[in-house]
């Protein structure tokens, strides 16, 4: 039997499957027993109460969806009071996603969240839906460094930095997060997209643009996972469009030590436990002794012998 455990810094997860922030809540426990998951990742919480974006907040695209939920939040105090105790019984490690407008606020939020029952903090420095035009800390290395360094100083909990696919400098951002003390990276959040209702000539979302998620995002997120994993020494957690066993394997092979499943849960709420089973079966069948042997096992491309000769076709 394959050893499915995976190490994310000082944290050891029973298996590599966990939900993506914002696509998961306790209600999923009505569909399956959540204790089977490698970890539990909450919807992003902000320190103060805040509303979300105007509706409509979701629409379909080819192979996926756009969302502009924003970060509606009841605030950290309500979270600590109502949510943290609720998760204690489930067993799987609780990862709390936080967001803030400044590095300082991020630090304060992290400090507040540093309580028994919280296993790690995921810093959502990449939400494209709260800042105008998709701007976020994770767009640039220096703002990433600042936010992560401030959070690092404020908590001893394992710290995950969730990166953005909207940046043109992913490797630099990844290295900045590592240098600032992140224990792991999550690649990635949603990519900023737009959809228009041709009949009304209005944007399909109340917030105009929204984040692309689902299978349409996968090749981009997989490329970024591979780039991040080959740029830093800390573990990378893959996220983006994962919906099948082979999707999970692609991310692991590209260098992810674990993966997050988001949008696919909306189509198949019982998907995560099925993926755990299927990954285990596949590893057994392939004789993979430890999941860790798969991580980053990407082989070089296998070019046909003469294809490297740089000659134009006739």
């Amino acid at each position: 039997m394959t050893d499915l455990t995976t190490r994310i810094g000082s944290l050891t997860l029973a298996n590599p499957i966990m939900p993506a922030s914002g696509t998961f809540s306790a209600e999923l426990g009505e569909v399956f027993d959540l204790s089977c998951l490698g970890a539990l990742v909450t919807k992003t919480v902000t320190e103060a109460r805040r509303g979300g974006n105007p509706t409509p907040r979701v629409c379909e695209i080819e192979g996926g969806m756009l969302n502009s939920i924003g970060i509606p939040s009841k605030g950290i105090d309500a979270f600590l009071r109502d949510q943290v105790p609720l998760w204690r019984d489930v067993g799987a490690p609780l990862v709390v996603s936080i967001s803030a407008d400044t590095a300082e606020d991020f630090a304060r939020a992290a400090e507040k969240m540093t309580v028994p029952g919280v296993a790690a903090i995921e810093a959502n420095i990449s939400c494209p839906n709260i800042e105008a035009d998709g701007h976020a800390f994770a767009m640039l290395p220096d703002t990433t460094f600042e936010a992560i360094a401030r959070i690092r100083a404020a908590t001893h909990l394992p710290l995950w930095a969730k990166l953005s696919p909207n940046t043109g400098v992913l490797r630099e951002v990844a290295r900045a997060a590592e240098a600032a003390g992140a224990d792991a990276l999550v690649t990635t959040n949603t990519a900023l997209g737009l959809a228009i209702d041709v009949r009304t000539r209005r944007p399909k979302l109340g917030n105009v643009t929204g984040g692309i998620s689902g299978p349409a995002l996968k090749p981009l997120a997989l490329r970024m996972t591979w780039q991040a994993a080959s740029s830093v020494a800390i573990p990378v957690i893959g996220c983006g469009g994962i919906a099948t066993r082979d999707d999970v394997l692609e991310f692991l092979i590209a260098g992810a030590s674990a993966v997050q499943v988001g949008t696919a849960t909306f189509r198949s709420p019982a998907l995560m436990p099925r993926l755990i089973r299927e990954i285990e079966e596949w590893c057994d069948a392939q004789g993979v002794a430890r999941l860790a042997d798969l991580v980053g096992s990407l082989a070089p491309a296998d070019p046909a012998p003469h294809d490297l000769v740089p000659e134009p076709q006739s």
């Binding site: 809540s25 919807k43 979701v58 509606p72 709420p269």
Partner: protein, 270 residues
């Protein structure tokens, strides 16, 4: 939490046109997804066809269910990608449904006479109330509004469950607010009404809110909103409600789809 919402692959028994716009889908469903309440819904994974690739599930009110026979039914209006895909289903095909979901209608033990006011696809949502009323021995009057008599749905469903049906239509001018108001006031003044029920149509909602408030009648309303998860996880389906003097945002899939009538904020005209 013990699992109680189920994803099930179920077989299509029939899928026929109910009238020019609507189709009725009967499914052979396993017992464990049939613990339903009127006003609840399922999230249906509409099939991918050559022409349509609906990505998100579509919420559909439970139009009927029968545990003894293992039947689950939906009434839908063919409008966009998801319902066009549904329209192509043939007996023997299978589809994936998730449910039952949401909070349905609640009936207080002391109510004796119910009044339903519905139009369009809202009739699908409200029809199961008639069966429930009959089971509990309550009287129910259904005021069904439609563009034309041919487009009125579920009249037989309501009647079969002992409801009194009043059809009002645009084509004969009986559906305008003043006439409908008179009908309702007559009902209240005459046999009496203990609670009112409606769906999300703006005009009907405003009308019924006003009448119910004036008479101090309790009311319930089934609302709609775009959904992604249907379970309460994604926060996309919120709507504003008036509660305790302020505006709150509730999830239609979770706190609803049925809400206290007095709290509803009718949708702006499209």
């Amino acid at each position: 939490m013990t699992p109680k919402v189920h994803e099930a692959l179920v077989e299509v028994v029939s899928n026929d046109a109910a009238n020019a716009d609507y189709r009725l889908l009967h499914l052979a469903a396993p017992d464990h997804i049939l613990d339903c309440k009127p006003g609840q819904f399922f999230q249906i994974l509409c099939p991918e066809t050559g022409a349509e690739r609906p990505f998100l599930r579509r919420p559909m009110s439970i139009y009927g269910w029968d545990r003894a026979q293992g039947r689950l039914s939906f009434l839908y209006k063919v409008s966009g990608a998801g319902t066009r895909a549904l329209a192509g289903l043939r007996p023997g095909d299978r589809i994936d449904v998730l449910g039952p979901l949401g909070r349905g209608f609640t009936l207080a033990p002391d109510w004796r006479r119910l009044l339903v006011l519905a139009r369009g696809v809202g009739l699908a949502t409200l029809a199961p109330l008639a069966a429930e009323a009959q089971r509990r021995g309550l009287a129910l009057t259904a005021i069904c509004s439609a563009r034309t008599p041919e487009l009125a749905l579920s009249l037989d469903r309501f009647r079969a469950h002992g409801a009194e049906v009043r059809l009002v239509t645009d084509s004969d001018g009986t559906s305008d607010p003043a006439r409908v108001r008179a009908l309702i006031e007559d009902e209240i003044a005459g046999p009496g009404v203990d609670a009112v029920f409606t769906c999300g149509s703006r005009r009907l909602t405003s009308l019924l809110q006003e009448i119910a408030a004036r008479h101090g009648l309790p009311g319930q309303i089934a609302m709609e909103q775009q959904m992604a998860c249907g379970l309460g996880m994604c926060q996309c389906c919120v709507r504003p409600f008036r509660r305790d003097g302020r505006i709150v945002h509730d999830r239609v899939c979770r706190e609803g789809p049925v809400f206290p009538l007095a709290e509803a904020i009718p949708e702006a005209a499209a």
